[in-house]
Symmetry: C2
């Protein structure tokens, strides 16, 4: 029975996330999953959470269990601005909007910027949750190729010329500059400056989505887009990867004319992010939970990443045409198969062999790539990484011949 | 500088909630505020929260601090279905979607049902958060008059005839059947049946928003719309008023073809409602926090409501043309001024006299009424209610002459 009659046009175009459906297949405990984007639960700062919840429930429960301001807890907004200040940003707490994690930031972005049919620049590949939000408002993501240094400025100019010539001027540039999801690559300073110049010359807003920035294993961080072009950059942050995802807590930051619109849009979405979670997070930050936790996270993910790189080399180093990125941080790397192979088809076999990844097609606006896959190295332990890479290597080699 | 150029049409129409701006004026501790919709913080079941958080953090922190399913924690969904079953609904846990409180339910409703320009039946007056979500997607709320028994079926038929004749068939009927916000009125069974018949005959979806249903002081609950027409009713619930608002936890319930669409829409909004808050709430329900808390809430709000009714009678009983509703539950009553008076204008004077309410215009689709006000009786203590009613009575009498 056709029920489309009842729904909005946008609802009739909605689809269940392919990924979420795939991930259900990986619930089998036999499966070694490099598919999800889950942080390692052993890094959750449980003792800090215990102390902070106890404190909140004794000292400020009347406030923490009540409704709160849409903008967020003023104490927390100040702390979040301080985190940004330590990262070289001249951040004003008044420009911080606490969000129900950065997925809500993406939803707000899509709601305030996109009319149906409006285009948007995204990486090829890019975060599928971003694609989902943009598409859910009828936005049309248009991809710009990445290389090992992230989005390629010359390709960006080419695409903008093309779209502008067609009268399809994009609403914004959606960029994940640090340890990009899914590719794992980071944009160096010179390239950031080039992208900023392009955005300034043509008057584009940049949305900088940076959930992994603080998880750097080697080298040092490049300046944020926010610090380079504060007048036109809207930044999205989250605690999901750097502390814990179970509170659903993140924040958006930008110039007042942008952040004010975000506040208005958030009001009708959930009135406010849970004040209890905000109060607990505030006290955790006061106690240094972020710094202590990051030390653990960086050490663990660094060693898991290096192990995965070594095991891929061991199992696939001699297979012509197989390449993968070498991240300096984050949670993911990106593997490309030799020409002629198909990572969507391979997925079914992989599940049979009890190893899982996310087919790269999920990260392309039109699912147009079929030779790539995203591998997560944060969630599986060392034995699983070794065995998973062995299974994956065997599978790729066998399927190739 | 005009920045509208950067934003979507819907964002350019967004406005900061008038109410939220008004409420800022009531932050002055001298002001006795009947304006907000806050539950009394002394009713928050703090000891239950303490025990449940401690339990979760010891026994299931790896799961509760991790990402969760969009649909919600299966244990909690089962509990929520049980709450509905005890209320005479044949509820299936699989049809429960946990939401980040019922405001998110309203946002999802607006997103999945409204194309720009689509109409929607609402009460005159109705909850302003509902109006805000609907309008934020370009939906056009069309009001149907209420009386002391809620929405008037004859008026509903009239309005539907009119809209259908104009080719502006509404997307749905948005109804708050129990202790309506803001009017405080409840729809009796016969009238519910009439409304269901109208919806069935003309094939309309009903969205039943029922945050206060369990806060009944006298009489007994009427059957839910969900129980009367499960094939076409989408119900929205929240713990904000019956337990605490600071977790931002609610749920949506409906037939699978509706709830599936809601799940898809929620995915891009925040991936999932905080799993930690869900786990804590599950254990609180297990321990009986809801029943224990409701007993306290009902007793307290009952006595505050009766006190406010008595004080209004004392201060305004002899003023011709002033009327107010007599709620059997909930948090609000609705006061109407004599012809010629204006509750928007009066608000400024009220603030000067240190008493606050929400002008009724906020609850009308076009802000078209100026003779009414919403009074909240859950938040102020007894002394404040007595003194606030005295100030309000004096003000109304003086402004009248």
């Amino acid at each position: 029975m056709d029920r489309s009659y009842y729904f909005s046009d946008r609802a009739n175009k909605m689809q269940r996330s392919v990924i979420r459906e795939l991930l259900k297949l990986t619930n089998n405990p036999e499966v070694i999953s490099f598919a999800g984007g889950l942080p390692a639960p052993e890094t959750f700062p449980v003792e800090y959470v215990k102390r902070a919840t106890a404190k909140v429930l004794v000292e400020e429960h009347r406030k923490a269990l009540q409704y709160g301001a849409t903008e967020g807890d003023p104490r927390l907004r100040k702390k979040l601005a301080e985190i940004m200040q330590r990262d070289g940003i001249d951040a004003d707490p008044e420009h911080v909007l606490v969000t129900t994690a950065s997925q809500q930031g993406l939803e707000i972005m899509a709601k305030v910027f996109f009319n149906p049919g409006d285009t948007c620049i995204v990486g090829l590949p890019t975060y599928l949750g971003g694609l989902q939000s943009i598409k859910s408002y009828g936005g049309v993501p248009v991809g710009v190729e990445l290389d090992d240094d992230g989005m390629i400025p010359a390709k960006l100019v080419e695409k903008l010329d093309e779209l502008e010539a067609e009268g399809r001027r994009p609403r914004l540039l959606y960029i994940i500059p640090d340890f990009q999801n899914p590719a794992g690559v980071t944009i160096p300073l010179e390239r950031r400056k080039e992208i900023v110049k392009i955005a300034r010359d043509r008057d584009y807003i940049i949305v900088e989505d940076t959930p992994y920035r603080q998880i750097r294993f080697r080298g040092k961080n490049e300046p944020t887009f926010q610090s380079l072009a504060p007048e036109r950059v809207l930044s999205l942050y989250t605690f999901s990867k750097i502390m814990l995802p179970g509170f659903r807590l993140g924040w958006a930051y930008g110039p007042d004319w942008l952040i004010n619109k975000f506040v208005m849009a958030k009001q009708s979405m959930d009135l406010c992010t849970p004040p209890f979670n905000q109060a607990v997070t505030y006290h955790m930050l006061e106690e240094g939970a972020l710094e202590a936790g990051l030390e653990t996270i960086i050490k663990l993910y660094h060693s898991r990443c290096d192990l995965m790189l070594a095991e891929l080399e061991k199992n696939l180093g001699d297979v012509e045409g197989v390449t993968w990125t070498k991240p300096d941080g984050g949670l993911f790397l990106w593997l490309t198969l030799p020409e002629g192979m198909n990572s969507d088809d391979l997925f079914t076999k992989a599940i049979e062999e009890n190893v899982a990844y996310v087919p790269g097609s999920a990260f392309f606006p039109m699912n147009e790539d079929h030779r790539s896959m995203r591998l997560n190295f944060s969630y599986s332990d060392e034995d699983q990484i070794v065995e998973g890479c062995r299974r994956l290597g065997k599978l790729i080699k066998e399927s190739r011949s």
